[in-house]
C-alpha cells in the first residue's frame, strides 16, 4: 500500500539511551517532516527535508538529528533520551506543485509512541 511507513509503533527507552525512528514513503514526495505530538498541544515540527541531502530545523529540534540520503527515507535519531522526549512521533510527506510554490498531498504515518523512563 502506498503511503508513509513508520517503525517501530511503540518503544520504551531508558534515560540516556539512543534510538532511531524509521520513516519511509513510496509516493516519490519531495518533502518529508518529523512532528511530535504532546497531549493537548497539537503537532510541533522537529525537522524537515525538501529533498535528498537537504534538511532543516523546525520548531523543536534540540535532542534530535535527521538525515536524508534518499528520497524515500527520513530517519529521526535520538542520541541521549530524556523524559521530556516522551511523546508520539509522526512522520509525514508532501509533494511540490508544478509551479514550485506550493505543496500538496500531506500524508502522515501511523506514529511511534515513545516513552522515556
Amino acid at each position: 500500500n502506498a503511503g508513509v511507513t513508520q517503525t517501530p509503533k511503540f518503544r520504551i527507552l531508558k534515560i540516556g539511551q539512543s534510538m532511531t525512528l524509521q520513516c519511509a514513503q513510496d509516493m516519490n514526495h519531495n518533502y518529508m517532516y518529523w512532528y511530535r505530538q504532546d497531549p493537548g498541544m497539537g503537532l510541533k515540527l522537529i525537522y524537515y527535508s525538501v529533498g535528498a541531502g537537504i534538511t532543516d530545523k523546525g520548531e523543536v529540534p534540540n535532542g534530535y538529528n535527521v538525515s536524508r540520503s534518499t528520497t524515500e527515507d527520513f530517519p529521526l535519531r535520538l542520541e541521549l533520551a530524556a523524559p521530556s522526549q516522551t511523546s508520539v512521533y509522526f512522520c509525514a510527506s508532501s509533494y511540490l506543485s508544478g509551479t514550485g510554490d506550493q505543496f500538496y498531498g500531506y500524508t502522515f504515518g501511523s506514529g511511534t509512541r515513545l516513552t522515556v523512563v
Binding site: L43, Y48, D56, A92, D101, Q102, F108
Partner: protein
C-alpha cells in the same frame, strides 16, 4: 511566527447533529489544510483550502482568507467523525515548505 487558534477546544454532539469548527490565523496564508485524527491516532488530510469552499460528502470547508479564518462544517455527524480536527497553515511569503498546526478541536459524537 504565524499563530493558529482553533475553537471550540472540545465539542460533544449526538449522532445526527451538525457542527461548525473554526480556525483563526494571525497572518495571510497561501496554504491551509484540515486534518482529522481518529481515536487510534491516524491523521488524515481532509481538505486543502487556502481560499474558497470545498465539499466532500458530509464535510465541507470554507476559508475567508481576507478575514483570516476557516470553517469546517460537519453535517449529520456519525460516531466515526469522533477525533481531533486540526487546522494547519503556511504563512504567505514563508520561505520554507512547512505547516503550522493549531491545537485542534476534540469532537466526540455519541450514539
Amino acid at each position: 511566527g504565524i499563530q493558529v487558534e482553533q475553537s471550540p477546544p472540545d465539542l460533544i454532539l449526538q449522532e445526527g447533529a451538525n457542527s461548525t469548527l473554526r480556525c483563526n490565523f494571525s497572518d495571510s496564508v497561501n496554504n491551509l489544510q484540515w486534518f482529522h485524527q481518529n481515536p487510534w491516532g491516524q491523521l488524515i488530510n481532509l481538505f486543502y483550502i487556502p481560499s474558497g469552499t470545498k465539499q466532500n460528502g458530509r464535510l465541507s470547508a470554507t476559508t475567508v482568507a481576507t478575514e483570516r479564518y476557516s470553517l469546517l462544517y460537519i453535517s449529520s455527524s456519525q460516531t466515526t467523525d469522533s477525533g481531533v480536527y486540526f487546522c494547519a497553515v503556511r504563512a504567505r511569503g514563508g520561505s520554507n515548505y512547512k505547516l503550522t498546526f493549531g491545537k485542534g478541536t476534540l469532537l466526540t459524537v455519541n450514539p
